[in-house]
């Protein structure tokens, strides 16, 4: 009936508002729950979440080897064109020509940290690091070569 529905509405509204207010009060009286990081002060102890995406990096192991085969899947996947793979041809000991990566050019200034390239990479050669202090005085510094000089692809990765 109309009247019962009306009364039900009123009490339902009061109840749901009460639930919301209880939640905010719960946080209000618990200052320990505050999640604000006082950033420049706690620079040394700052812990970022694992999933935070700060920039694209290419991990190298102790032999200065990475896992990138130069397949350009990441370049194709990037919606902003922030990756450019420059390839070269290596001569394998057997005398075969083999495509390899010369320069992995990554433009941090155009990257939106969308993670597409990381997902696209078939050999998990790139990951997202959580470093976020990227400010520089010259924006050409934001164009980075991700593979270290003299590095080569790890054996056994095609």
């Amino acid at each position: 009936m109309f009247v019962t529905q009306y009364i039900k509405d009123v009490f339902g509204a009061i109840k749901s508002l009460g639930i919301g207010m209880r939640r905010t009060l719960w946080y209000f009286v618990r200052p320990k729950e505050i999640i604000t990081q006082q950033y420049p002060d706690n620079k040394d102890t700052l812990v970022l979440a694992e999933r935070f995406r700060g920039e694209v990096v290419m991990p190298h192991d102790e032999n200065n080897e990475h896992a990138c085969t130069g397949c350009t899947a990441c370049e194709l996947a990037c919606p902003n064109g922030s990756i450019k793979i420059v390839t070269k041809f290596d001569i394998t000991p057997e005398g075969k020509r083999k495509k390899a990566i010369d320069q992995f050019v990554y433009r941090l200034d155009m990257c939106t940290m969308c993670n597409m390239c990381v997902v696209a990479c078939p050999s998990d050669a790139i990951i997202m690091a959580n470093d976020f202090e990227h400010s520089v005085y010259d924006r050409t510094k934001l164009t980075k070569i991700l593979n270290k000089p003299g590095s080569k692809v790890r054996d056994g990765i095609e």
């Binding site: 508002l17 207010m21 009060l25 946080y27 729950e33 505050i34 604000t36 006082q38």
Partner: protein
């Protein structure tokens, strides 16, 4: 024991001894003006700080914490910034009205303060229509808002002003009806009578069901009348930039900002006076040990304590609920609050006539 009543009385008699009554009156008027302006400055600083702290704690943040310990000087620094900022007047505005609007809003907020009783005998003007005077004068604030919106020569301002006008005019109805409940239980419009009637218990306890319903509706209507979230349609940032004060800057903006908080204080003070006994300490029944213990706390502490409690509740609303759409807002008033408060008024009449309140 010292009390504010004795201080005001002795100042009054001393002035009347020294000067002719007219001069004494004028001097008293100046003292009152200084006190009111001081109160407003104090409110501006404290309430803005309180709002920022309350909001941040409710949102698991820290809030201002750099200027002074816990950031207590943050609002002072903000005020300084606003004072030295350029007061910019856009092209093609009606300059006279553009400059007048913030003052209308501010002056209205100051005039409304006249009949408030801050403590026993500490009242500017104990007029016999006290609460009616307050509701009548506070309805003028909307004219300042409409003027500001219209004279800014900006469609966002105009839209904000229209919304705010529609909102204030409609919520004034249910606010007025809830005030009537208490007026009926007391049988007087005079603020001191209303407070003295609560010497043996506040109306929210004595008036039980109708008083509690009225209190809830009053708080909702008061939030809407001060244009605060969840009823901040008038300045909905995401759609109207800042509503009626979009074009204001510097000190004129500061006046609007201050008036908003002054109005919050005023509606909460009305709520505290009507439902929670104003400066009257927490009493139950007459002349028992509990009452005499409560009497040791001075009235002004009670008054500000209750008012700030209600201000906290209104801030709590603001930082909990999302903004209403304009049709929801008008639905809430015309389909829910108004019929309920009309029935409540009827209920209160029956209770007042039958003497079923305590």
């Amino acid at each position: 024991m010292w009390s504010l009543e004795n201080i005001t009385k002795s100042v009054d008699s001393w002035l009347n001894l020294q000067f002719s009554p007219t001069i004494a009156f004028l001097i008293e008027a100046v003292i009152i003006m200084v006190l009111v302006i001081g109160l407003f400055a104090f409110l501006g600083l404290v309430l803005v700080f309180m709002e920022r702290k309350v909001s941040s704690f409710m949102q698991i943040r820290l809030g201002p914490n750099r200027v002074g310990p816990m950031g207590i000087f943050q609002t002072a620094a903000d005020t300084l910034k606003l004072i030295v900022k350029e007061g910019f007047t856009p092209n093609n505005v009606d300059k006279f009205l553009f400059n007048l609007a913030p003052f209308i809003v501010m002056v209205v907020a100051m005039v409304v303060l006249a009949p408030f009783a801050f403590s026993k005998g500490f009242q500017i003007w104990d007029v016999n229509v006290g609460i009616f005077f307050i509701t009548a004068v506070s309805s003028l604030g909307v004219i300042g808002i409409l003027t500001a919106g219209w004279s800014s020569n900006n469609k966002y301002s105009l839209l904000g002003a229209m919304r705010s006008g529609a909102q204030i005019v409609s919520y004034e109805l249910s606010a007025g009806l809830t005030i009537l409940v208490i007026v009926m239980l007391t049988g007087s419009l005079r603020i001191s009578d209303i407070i003295n009637a609560q010497a043996d218990g506040w109306w929210i306890f004595k008036g039980h069901i109708p008083a509690i319903i009225a209190f809830v509706i009053y708080i909702i209507a008061a939030t809407a009348e001060t244009n605060r979230a969840p009823f901040d349609m008038a300045e909905a940032e995401s759609e109207l930039t800042a509503g009626f004060h979009t074009e204001y800057s510097g000190m004129k903006f500061a006046l609007f900002f201050l008036a908003e908080y002054a109005n919050v204080f005023i509606v909460c003070a009305i709520g505290a006076t009507l439902f929670l006994g104003g400066w009257m300490p927490l009493h139950f029944g007459e002349n028992n040990w509990f009452n005499s213990i409560m009497d040791y706390i001075p009235g002004i502490v009670w008054f500000f304590g209750k008012t700030f409690f209600l201000i906290f509740v209104i801030m709590w609303f603001r930082w909990t609920f999302p903004r209403l759409r304009i049709d929801q807002l008008l639905n809430l008033e015309w389909k829910y609050l108004l019929p309920i408060s009309l029935f409540n008024l009827l209920l209160a009449t029956v209770i007042a006539i039958a003497g079923w309140h305590f």
